[in-house]
Symmetry: C2
Subunit: 313 residues, 2 copies
């Protein structure tokens, strides 16, 4: 079994100009779950060709970290995985340019794919990249909209998060010459796993443990982010709860920790955590059921899905 | 002969979310010289296969415009090709994200290349992209350095500008199955044409006509940009001229138009324009001489080089 973290660490970023490459090395060294490359390797491994998926796995992880780097500039997020973000440790321009270079580095990794599979992988990779940018654009547009529906939210996180997990599985399976029925099942698995994964992120942003989660708790609340938690709260609040919630959403002068505590208390009254967890579990179930339709033995993916569903970070 | 401007206009950017695609359409509709795609098409056309280079030509133009979009954010430049830059007309986040999407769109265009040529074109394209990012990084680092040499400057503009022209020619010729000796000659042509081109940009930034040039005149002077003009001035100034120049370089409180006029006057005393033009002409000559070594008839490139050498924008 390929150790993906070692494979990522083995990429040499000691190149000139250091000012361009140091932030890339810093970002990739910060760890994370390595979920996307792992999915690609597992998918190819189901057909006995794990090592053929390594270039794509590296491309996916570099791409994912590129999106984090640029998203953190756009959100002006201070912390990622328990460390200063690149735009804080360096500056915005460094984060923009090193991020651009990471995107190119992701494509460079695809050069390791054999010529037979390259055209379709290139197509899947760029399609994925486009959908992720579209998802990020919707996410930013939601910030200034008051009428975001839960359906719109789900479509946004499908684009921003699920598509990358789905592409990781599809590319891994395609490189390993999987039957097309399996690739379809993997796509359904990836999409629904991604939705469950992002919803859990929204839950952890309110109810997680800061040290384990690696980000500040309550960040979504402070930003009035249209997370599933907020959308569920707005949908299920009674008149009194809604009035208090709107009060906090429109307040401009407050002590951050007080706002976090007050909004969390309203969420607790409404039962937001349970409402979100029900959605998370529903998507996880659809994901796992889809694996049962596969010709290959999908036990490694089953195990991963269950582990993710109980994660704390 | 393919009309590259029409081919670029024919790309449909009416897609959702508009907030992501409108800035891309706006950027590509702003015209410009279409130099890079033209070079790719001419290079392939020398071997009778112009139309085979169209996907790469589009990729190169989209890539080039992506770099302008992000560079304008990093430089906080207000005007490009006589119009508001994207980060001014929209905002920084839009410019970052739409730029990211443009980079992906550039790679998407490469899907139109036949499978035989795709792997090497993908390699050349990413190599070019990397070198351009490295050039931009050096350019930014030079801003805070006092000891930039002319050699370092030339290496920076080679990366930031020449490499893209060289890659356009090389990719166009490669797709058209050109002999490798021709590809080497084209590379020398592209590199030197690019150096001449960028040096002329530096000259036009001081001595150009604002309406024709499409950018504010004197922008480099206001930013203390280490252009060839400034480096030549620092190198050839006498003690008195140097003292006056340093005075303006370190002044923080000035009327912009006065600084531009005063620094231009010092440049005139030193003869900076002539010093820079001599370099521009030298590189143009090397470029043109390289064409004489080719087996294909390079007349269209000769004509283009001469036209560029006398441009006003």
């Amino acid at each position: 079994m390929i150790d993906i973290s070692s494979a990522i660490s083995a990429i040499n970023w000691t190149r000139e100009p250091q000012g361009l490459y140091d932030p890339i090395a810093y970002t990739l060294a910060s760890g994370g779950k390595r979920l996307r490359p792992t999915l690609a390797l597992i998918a190819a491994g189901l057909y006995g060709k794990e090592e053929k998926a390594l270039p794509a796995a590296l491309a996916l992880e570099i791409f994912h970290n590129f999106t984090l780097l640029h998203d953190d500039v756009m959100d002006q997020a201070p912390i990622r995985r328990g460390r200063e973000t690149v735009h804080v440790k360096w500056d915005d321009n460094t984060a923009i340019l090193s991020g651009d270079q990471m995107l190119i580095e992701a494509y460079k990794q695809l050069e390791g794919i054999d010529a037979v599979h390259l055209p379709h992988v290139l197509h899947l990779f760029s399609k994925m990249g486009t959908e992720i940018c579209e998802g990020q654009q919707y996410d930013m547009e939601f910030e200034t909209r008051e009428d975001v529906s839960i359906d719109e939210y789900i479509e946004m996180i499908r684009l921003k998060t699920s598509v990358l997990l789905g592409a990781a599985l599809e590319i891994g399976a395609y490189i390993a010459d999987a039957p097309s029925a399996d690739m379809e099942a993997l796509e359904v698995f990836g999409t629904n796993l991604g939705l469950a994964f992002q919803i859990q992120d929204d839950i952890l942003d309110v109810y997680g443990d800061e040290a384990t989660f690696g980000k500040s708790i309550g960040g979504d609340i402070l930003q009035n982010k249209k997370s599933l938690a907020l959308l569920m709260a707005l949908k299920h609040a009674n008149a009194d709860q809604l009035a208090r919630l709107q009060g906090w959403l429109h307040s401009t002068d407050y002590v951050p920790q007080e706002k976090i505590a007050a909004v969390t208390a309203i969420y607790n009254e409404i039962g937001v955590r349970e409402l979100c967890e029900a959605e998370q579990n529903r998507y996880t179930r659809i994901a796992i059921e889809s694996l049962n339709r596969m010709s290959a033995d999908a036990a490694p993916l089953m195990k991963l899905a269950e582990k993710l569903n109980n994660r704390a970070n």
